[in-house]
Amino acid sequence: MAAEIAVWYPELVSKLILSNSAGIRVKGSPIGDMFAMNPQEVLAACFDDFTAALPLMPAEMNSDYLVKMYKERTALASLAWNPSFDPKLARRLQSITCPTLIIWGENDRLIPAIYGPTFQSLIPHSQLVMLAGTGHMPMFEKAEAWAQPILDFLQQEVRA
């Protein structure tokens, strides 16, 4: 989503950070079918350390919560059922001119690690940080290791 905004509204984006993000396709390395996964499988695809997922767990698994989850999945499906990527995004990424940081948990089983270097090769002058020992949700699993390169990146001065 952030990459799309950077492509279409470059004036709104001074720096771009992509963390384990969707949007493109790497043939032969499909993104996991989240719609076919049960909640345990989604967790297993996204996390190495399940305890890191605790803040995301509902206090109570009632029908209101299940309906809300269904609606969230519906919103995602309306965007990304088929295709599960934007066929034109890969080509449009070359127009991005703002500084870009790509940061990826190496053990991501939802959007495989190869998507990180692929984004980097498509976005001019982008930097890539691969994080070891974490998957799709490094912001929960390795919060400091994830935040540090982002802080450094945001503090760098934009060259005119």
Binding site: F35, A36, N38, L66, V67, S78, N82
Partner: protein, 398 residues
């Protein structure tokens, strides 16, 4: 008029699942490896099923019915119209139902309009055309966006009805389907078009759609309380929203019927064979059954609160019979249970049959004959007596 019409419904299942299916496979749909399908055996099975359907015609069923399912062992008819075409050459009296074509799965619904028109012409106007959305599983198998299911259904329906009824050529301008020239050859025989049925399992919107168009609504494999709610809703919508009284010919019920000489034997045979449907054929990952956006918010809430699933959970055969998902018993018991539909629910179309699981063909034949010879006559209009009656003639005139 007949109190109940009889419709012989076949899924053409693939009964031959791996021995470790229960332990090691979580779905008979979408992901069950197709190495489990043996095409040579499939050839025999298709022909056995066609023989069975041909017998139903000869025994007096009002129609025979096939349907569309993809990439699964529950029903091996990805193209039901092909099977209906084969049936036009074997079934010479009964109507032939395709209940139904899964409209949203197809990017070109004009093809459905054409094929049904072809079948109607080929069969001499005997086609019943069911329209369905397809199960949730099929949105995975065909990679069709389930959030668009309802819109595509409604638009494809409108296109097909127009293709059958409006003089062509005309243009159809939709959100999902666009045609500059709609002008199908052939056109259907039946006027204004072949009858349309709508089966449903849980969506309230489908009941509304059927009631609005006065299409028969068919409840499929559900407990009696759920069927009652569905019929009540249909009836209420018909009366209050659309201003007419729903007739028995608008309320169909798809119920597996296990019939045998005694209640006890029927329970045994059902336990042994019919359970295949619920334990194996309908075994589906919950995620495949309810893909996101396939249901509206109010329908998904109702489905969650009723703990809806494609199968019937862990219910035993006895529980399935007690809750009215299945009918089992001697001819008298079956008559009694069907009478509840006709007398209390005022539902007038029974959809049942055919082979499930590993049932041997002689038992299928037995059940077909019992239904035809001992159950059907009970619900048929009594023929007007043709015996000569005495005529009074005054003696004086002789």
């Amino acid at each position: 008029m007949n109190k109940l019409t009889f419709h012989y419904f076949h899924l053409m299942p693939w009964p031959d699942l791996p021995p470790d299916f229960d332990e090691n496979y979580d779905s008979a749909w979408v992901t069950l490896p197709n190495s489990n399908y043996d095409p040579v055996k499939g050839h025999q099975l298709y022909n056995r099923y066609l023989d069975e359907i041909e017998r139903a015609d000869k025994l007096g069923w009002d129609s025979v019915i096939v349907n569309e399912h993809h990439q699964n062992a529950y029903g091996t008819m990805p193209s039901p119209n092909l099977m209906a075409a084969a049936l036009t050459q074997r079934v010479k009296r009964a109507k032939i139902g395709i209940v139904g074509n899964a409209l949203p799965l197809h990017d070109d619904p004009l093809r459905v309009a054409e094929e049904i028109a072809m079948l109607d012409v080929l069969s001499g106007g005997r086609i019943i055309s069911g329209f369905v959305r397809g199960t949730g599983m099929e949105y995975f198998s065909y990679n069709i966006n389930p959030t668009l299911s309802r819109e595509r259904m409604n638009e494809a329906h409108d296109l097909i009805i127009q293709a059958w009824t409006r003089p062509g050529p005309f243009a159809f301008e939709g959100e999902h389907y666009n045609y500059r020239y709609v002008n199908i050859w052939p056109r259907p025989i039946q006027q204004p078009h072949p009858p349309i049925w709508m089966p449903g399992t849980a969506s309230l919107e489908t009941i509304d759609f059927a009631a609005k168009h006065k299409y028969p609504y068919m409840t499929v494999f559900m407990p009696m309380d759920q069927r009652k709610r569905a019929y009540e809703l249909y009836r209420r919508l018909a009366e209050e929203k659309y201003g007419y009284e729903a007739q028995p010919e608008q309320l169909a019920f798809c119920v597996p019927c296990v019939i045998a000489e005694t209640d006890e034997l029927a329970m045994q045979e059902g336990e042994k064979y019919a359970m295949w449907l619920f334990r194996k054929g309908m075994k589906v990952r919950p995620e495949f059954f309810l893909p996101p956006g396939y249901m509206s918010e109010r329908s998904i809430r109702a489905a969650i609160e009723n703990n809806a699933s494609f199968g019937q959970g862990e219910k035993s055969f006895k529980e399935l019979v007690e809750t009215g998902v299945v009918i089992a018993g001697s001819p008298d018991t079956v008559i009694e249970k069907l009478s509840y539909y006709t007398e209390v629910l005022h539902a007038g179309m029974l959809v049942t049959g055919g082979h499930v699981g590993e049932i041997p063909d002689y038992l299928v034949l037995k059940s077909q004959e019992m239904m035809a010879k001992e159950v059907m006559p009970h619900f048929r209009e009594k023929a007007v007596s043709a015996e000569p009656k005495p005529v009074e003639v005054p003696s004086s005139s002789i």
